[in-house]
Subunit: 215 residues, 2 copies
Amino acid sequence: MRLTAREIYDKLINEDRITELEGQIKFYLGDVSIIVKQRDVVGNIMQEWLHGWLDNNDIEYAPSENTQMPPDFFLNPDDRTVNLLEVKAFNRSGTPGFDIADFRMYQSEIIEKPYMLDVEYLVFGYDMSDDGIVTIKDVWLKKVWEITRRMEEWPIKMLHGSFDYCDIVDNANIMKEKSIILVGEPFLLDDDLRNNAIKWVERANSSDTACLDIV
Amino acid sequence: MRLTAREIYDKLINEDRITELEGQIKFYLGDVSIIVKQRDVVGNIMQEWLHGWLDNNDIEYAPSENTQMPPDFFLNPDDRTVNLLEVKAFNRSGTPGFDIADFRMYQSEIIEKPYMLDVEYLVFGYDMSDDGIVTIKDVWLKKVWEITRRMEEWPIKMLHGSFDYCDIVDNANIMKEKSIILVGEPFLLDDDLRNNAIKWVERANSSDTACLDIV
């Protein structure tokens, strides 16, 4: 069976009632078994859980070979330019802080594969009780421009390390505001970036505006 | 029952034969259960596992209230200056890269609590197969000066972030060489650090050398 990202979202919410389920992480080694109570672990395993869920529900997909870049799942294995799904998760009691992509890889890839801008982000807001009981408080289906926001200096929010601006990070205000990645702004720090942005803007300007579903 | 760090190490190795055990991390949410295959998760849960192991074996301890600083376990709850145990774990197929402590907290704490230098580090070198089977390849019991090493500029290996020198990290050559934290060397970057180092050296010089078990 093939489903779109939206159909998967609807099934999780309405059929499976995912926000009413309970879960747990267990670790055993030899005779000793423990309930894992580390909240940040959940963020890393929701993608693996969705693998299991898709399998359990006989929903077709091709997994991604590049774990560094979106998407995690090609929901149409015959056409890897449509119906792309990326899974993210964050502790609902805190602030979303997940990486969206390596910035340089991302800005380079959207030149060649502009359909990557259409990846659907399935975002889980989870909770873990002090006893280690995992629940899903919220689920969102968003586009990348709905989960990033402007920083003061840059058009998208980025974490920067010592020597490089490396990651696009999510929007702390995922529920509050929408913004769009503006290419051609002052984050164009070097010639490569600038050239890629110019190419991108050219392509964007020459594209069929009917394809743009930005409201 | 009370055991020393060395007795715990011996029991794990010789009685429990920990290096022959197999383990697994499982996560379920609703009807979907998966085997977690993320190697870095193991590093974070070996401390929780040791909690369970100590409980299963009726070994006394008081857990630490400050997760930022060593030790994880006070093995003599009546005297929190002796028999201190800290747990670390790293992927044995890679390079050890765990944090030992926040550097500024650590250098400040050893002034007031010089016995903290005697904390025993129980270090697990784990492996996870592609199927998610966890095994423990090696276990070490080390002092802090046995798991740090000199960097070119500093007497101990440190990770430094954008604005601060913040973490003492482990020795990539845990098996190869021994080195000692030398206080009074060029990592004395500001007055606080320098003053603390002077106090520390004064104390060290005035202490009973019979207490020092450094070979």
